[in-house]
């Protein structure tokens, strides 16, 4: 049995930020991640981020990842365990024990506080032919192209015009692929107009009220059939058209990766604005299970920048709960972090998430 004060599951932007803040206050931290490298999705994000200077706006995600890794490596009391799958959490009165497969060995890690920063999983879209080789999630394509520098194909159909679909389309173009079209089932583009504009001005058509009817190919994707849909999501017969493509990229949204929070007994609520079932949490990001915190996409699908702020918030809250920070000092820091997070939830793209987060926190008071 190993012991630490604060165990973090997931070394993405939320987990790293929590580790940095907590360790700066003196907390002993173990950060576990199932991957070979820390950083989560940040190292696939080669585009410049939005926000203000305080949110590292204008800096590419990959460079924010490097910065966070540098900051965490400066903290002597943070241990990063890579290749470590956390498979279970067992509750005791004042602590939690994590079951971890580390280097193929099962170990138990006991911690007084736990942050679940497990991120998200991609939504898929099922259609005839969706199991053919070449139908891939946007995250897989970003990993192949931006991390391993491998193009999965030459002619890509992008399904989904949210920011992920638009950004991955742009990155595929940068890598030398042709994006034949972007289809969007809704009557309008989902992501930021500036992202759409970058792709549109290279000549990629964005087809709204359109979806994939089916994909054909012998052993792999050779052809996709598109169809227009009406406002009730019904296909309009006669509007089918065929595109020769070898990759169909699915960018149909994300869902919180919530298994660990479920088995820990956290209470959930379904919030479509936040991507589905999310653990109910309070303003400190603590769930209905005392000592179990959530941050980042698990706490509601948002951006890496909001995940960083939520992670920081948990780091401070945990340091306070463990007696490393006085209440007043913690309060000041939390207020500052929360206001930075709130800035990112302003405006037409953020307002639904802002309200949903506020309702979640209200709900936590009655649990």
């Amino acid at each position: 049995m190993r012991k630490t004060e604060f165990a973090i599951v997931g070394a993405g932007p939320a987990g790293l930020s929590a580790a940095i803040e907590a360790a700066r206050a003196g907390v002993k931290v173990v950060l576990a991640d199932e991957n070979q490298r820390p950083g989560g999705q940040l190292f696939k994000q080669i585009h410049k981020f939005f926000g203000s200077e305080a949110h590292h706006a204008g800096v590419r995600g990959i460079d924010i990842g490097t910065m966070l890794l540098q900051q965490v490596s400066q903290q002597k009391n943070v241990e990063i365990m890579l290749d470590s799958v956390v498979w279970g959490i067992f509750r005791a009165n004042t602590s939690h024990t994590l079951g971890v497969i580390h280097n193929s060995k099962n170990i138990h890690l006991k911690a007084r506080k736990v942050l679940l920063a497990t991120g998200a999983t991609e939504n898929v879209l099922a259609f005839p032919g969706w199991t053919l080789a070449g139908v891939m999630g946007a995250g897989a394509i970003q990993t192949l192209v931006n991390v391993h520098r491998v193009l999965p194909g030459k002619r890509v159909l992008m399904v989904g015009s949210g920011n992920v679909g638009l950004i991955v389309s742009y990155q595929l173009l940068q890598a030398g692929a042709e994006v034949v079209a972007i289809v969007e089932a809704l009557p309008k583009i989902g992501g930021y107009a500036v992202h759409a504009g970058k792709v549109a001005r290279t000549g990629v058509p964005i087809l709204t009220s359109t979806t994939v009817k089916e994909v054909h190919g012998k052993d792999k994707v050779e052809k996709a059939v598109l169809v227009q849909i009406d406002k009730n999501w019904q296909p309009l017969t006669g509007t089918e058209r065929e595109l020769e493509v070898d990759v169909v990229c699915l960018a149909c949204g994300l869902s919180p990766l919530a298994e660990l929070a479920w088995i820990t007994g956290c209470k959930f609520t379904d919030v479509p604005e936040l991507g589905g079932h999310v653990p109910i949490h309070n303003e400190n990001m603590e769930t209905t299970v005392p000592g179990i915190y959530v941050a980042g996409d698990l706490a509601g699908i948002e951006e890496a920048s909001t995940a960083i702020e939520e992670g920081r918030l948990v780091g401070i809250a945990v340091a306070e709960a463990l007696g490393y920070l006085a209440a007043g000092e913690a309060k000041d820091k939390k207020t500052e972090i929360s206001s930075r997070a709130e800035q990112l939830r302003e405006g037409p793209f953020g307002i639904a998430r802002k309200q949903a987060k506020e309702q979640l926190i209200c709900r936590s008071l009655s649990e």
Binding site: G58, G197, A200, I206, E346
Partner: protein
Amino acid sequence: MTLLKDGFFDPEELENLPGVPSKKRLIQGPVVVIECAQEIPCNPCEEACHKKAIQIGDSIIDLPILDADKCSGCGLCIASCPGQAIFVVDTTYSDKEAAIQLPYEFLPYPEEEQLVNGLNRAGEKVCSAKVLKVLNHKKFDRTAVITIVVPIQYAMEVRNIALR
């Protein structure tokens, strides 16, 4: 509104934006054109401008407001925009030509003096363009700023290039 349907502006949508200079200002010389139409949390352009010609304010979702009289068209804001929505247009480049500075993130970069295709916001080729300058300062962080020369009537149309 074509912006939300197709991903690019129609001319009327563009004219009303607070970051787009007046027609009167456009004929006076180099000036920035900020094609930013949505209230998203973002303000690096404001900080990039040394002349304080771009104002957003404390609420970072507000659209950038251009004070076109303060803008010299230096183009320092172009690479700062994470949305690549900022251009500089100089309709006084010559009697019949305009110079356009645009952000560019595709390799290989064009060479100076090279002839390329001028593309509009929908990616359609509308004219031939000559590359005047390729700037890739460290500060631009791998977003090159490319200056091209196009026939003057395309000054507010060409927003991208394609290498031949």
